[in-house]
């Protein structure tokens, strides 16, 4: 096992793609253990990790997001937020956060959201007098809401790994998402007061009215997802299919910004972004098989249990561990690798798996904004055209708020479990 783990680290360091590292490390294990028959079983395992109903929601929500971007929904969400919050001090910063919150109820991924919003919000905020760095930092932080407010790709991946209900996870993400939004807004209020942030002019009522009317079809999509799941009309996967169909109709017929000719590109983008995730999952399954053969989860669980018996201390250790992992590891990779290991341990401490899922996923999104390896940082810095270092300096306060929220949610599980419990 030691050889397997060190080759894992080594391969990662020389820049071999993470999914291939997972596969190669498994091959190294086979070579070291001399059990060549294990190699025979690998293709089958590779295959069947993907043959899971729950995973279907991933391409569907991605497709819905793509269709909605092209269909003109994003711009309407921003306009709507602008008419609501633009005239406060620090108006555009609030608009950024609120628009991201709305967008999060449609998209399941924070990177896509960061890139999209950076393109629009950073120049807009800069024009009103904010620094480029602060604008990019606000956008990157607000996009963290993407995988927390449902739908969420991270939640789907977690549910598949942990065997929890996707619908329950989605419901559990609503309140944490809102709390995070409030936290960021408070931070903006403080910074706005301190740095005397600009505000825009109040919009005429007529304009507000038209923005509101225009945004209704856009909000229909998240409404259908949430209502469909809570009222029990659809499962998560089905609601994703409905969301796609709806996005399609709204984009083509209502806003008329989506063209038939765009469809192949949309499908292609969906396919590529899906495959990067599912291939990683398939390879992680190989590695998971090796870990299980070596009984690593059981050994770790027993070890954890011997360190502490207190679930509160366990959660503290878990958070610190995950924040450290988040610094260097890709979010999706850490979820698919760690969930099968962490879930048995959490069961030992009688921690609710939905609660655990929300904790893990928030850690993961924080990780995407922490140096040295943070995909969210990289996207924000390149799309927003700012240097990494000043961006990181501006992001710290947002990360501080997120960590505070993370610990509140960790030690007040009710905040996570309350909404799901309303429906049980």
């Amino acid at each position: 096992m030691a050889i397997t783990m060190s080759s894992f680290a080594l391969l990662l360091m020389i820049g071999v793609p993470i999914s291939i590292v997972l596969g190669l490390a498994s091959v190294v294990y086979v070579a070291v253990s001399g059990d060549l028959a294990l190699l025979e079983t690998m293709p089958q395992r590779l295959y069947s990790g993907i043959e899971t109903h729950g995973l279907l929601a991933i391409p569907l929500f991605m497709l819905a997001g793509e269709l909605m971007n092209l269909g003109g929904i994003t711009s309407r969400l921003i306009q709507f937020s602008q008419t609501l919050f633009g005239h406060f001090k620090g108006g555009l910063a609030y608009v950024n956060i609120i628009a991201n919150m709305f967008l999060s109820s449609i998209l399941g991924s924070s990177l896509a959201q960061t890139a999209m919003m950076s393109r629009v919000m950073v120049p807009a905020m800069q024009k009103e007098g904010y620094t480029k760095e602060f604008s990019a930092a606000t956008t990157a932080a607000a996009a963290m809401l993407g995988p927390i407010i449902p739908p969420s790709m991270l939640f789907i991946l977690y549910s598949v790994g942990a065997g929890t209900s996707v619908s329950k996870m989605f419901l559990a993400g609503i309140l944490p998402g809102i709390i995070l939004t409030i936290g960021f807004s408070l931070l903006i209020a403080y910074l706005g007061y301190k740095n005397n942030f600009p505000k825009s002019e109040k919009r005429p009522v007529k304009e507000m009215w038209s923005a509101t009317i225009q945004v209704i079809p856009a909000l229909l999509v998240p409404a259908i997802i949430i209502l469909g799941i809570t009222l029990g009309i659809f499962t998560a996967t089905e609601s994703a299919a409905i969301a796609c169909a709806l996005a399609f109709v709204v984009g083509i017929l209502l806003y008329r910004e989506l063209k038939w000719a765009d469809i192949p590109t949309v499908f292609l983008n969906t396919a590529r972004s899906t495959a990067t995730v599912t291939l990683l999952l398939a390879m992680a399954n190989l590695f998971g098989l090796v870990l299980t053969f070596e009984r690593v989860p059981q050994v770790l669980a027993a070890w954890m249990g011997s360190i502490t018996e207190n679930p509160l201390i366990f959660l503290l250790i878990l958070n610190i561990f995950l924040l450290l992992v988040g610094m260097i590891m890709d979010g999706i990779a850490s979820i698919v690798i760690l969930v099968p290991i962490l879930v048995p341990i959490a069961k030992l401490f009688e921690i609710d798996l939905v609660h655990l899922g929300v904790i893990i996923c928030i850690n993961t999104v924080i990780g995407s904004l922490t140096p040295p390896v943070g995909a969210g940082l990289f996207v924000a810095s390149s799309v927003g055209e700012v240097k990494l270092e000043p961006l990181i300096r501006q992001i710290w306060p947002f990360l501080g708020v997120s960590v505070v929220v993370l610990f509140i949610l960790t030690y007040l599980p009710t905040l996570v479990l309350w909404i799901p419990s309303l429906f049980s």
Binding site: L24, L46, T270, A271, V383
Partner: protein
């Protein structure tokens, strides 16, 4: 070598066509499934299974595409610290490992689907031979091997196009259409 590059590009075109069809099939079968179940009260049992098999094919064909495009996530922070010869050697080493891995799994998967017991396996709902979804693994790996061999040769010759995902994410944000689609949603 040029031939290999042409081959890899050609395979990529084929892959593109395949995945576009697969996403279409997945979307249509699931939507029709919902419509039939909820509105016509007539469940279509094949719908879910068709969608799942499409996802499987999508994973292995699309996964090969992501290698070709350098869209596959990697930790590049250490290798980026290096310059010159050492960097080149390590990059060559890592691309050769990727190719070797692909080749090994390709052989393992061919061995797997040619087992006589494979014929006993049928899907639980449509009862189609499992060979059809299983084929996605060797086919995807075959494409993967072509792309990664091409990548190997190019890296050895000093053309670096495997620079991890930072540049690709940036590339995929279109310049002229600010709000339009993104190719790389990672989180």
């Amino acid at each position: 070598m040029k031939l290999l590059n042409t081959l890899s590009d050609g395979v990529f075109k084929v892959e593109k066509a395949i995945v576009i069809v697969l996403v279409g099939v997945m979307f249509i079968s699931l939507t029709i499934g919902v419509v039939f179940r909820y509105f016509l009260k007539m469940p279509l049992h094949w719908a879910d299974e068709t969608a799942i098999f499409s996802l499987v094919w999508l994973t292995f064909v699309g996964g090969s595409m992501s290698l070709k495009q350098g869209q596959i996530a990697a930790v590049t922070m250490f290798i980026d610290l290096l310059k010159g010869r050492l960097r080149h050697i390590l990059l060559c080493f890592s691309t050769i490992l990727v190719f070797g891995f692909g080749l090994l799994l390709l052989f393992a998967s061919i061995h797997w689907i040619t087992q006589p017991t494979i014929v006993f396996q049928r899907s639980s709902i449509m009862q189609i031979p499992m060979l059809y979804p299983y084929l996605s693994v060797p086919v995807g790996l075959f494409f993967f091997c072509i792309h990664s061999l091409n990548l190997c040769v190019q890296t050895i010759r000093g053309v670096e196009n495997s620079a991890g995902h930072l540049e690709t994410i940036v590339d995929t944000v279109p310049d002229n259409k600010p709000l339009k689609s993104l190719k790389n949603e990672v989180i």
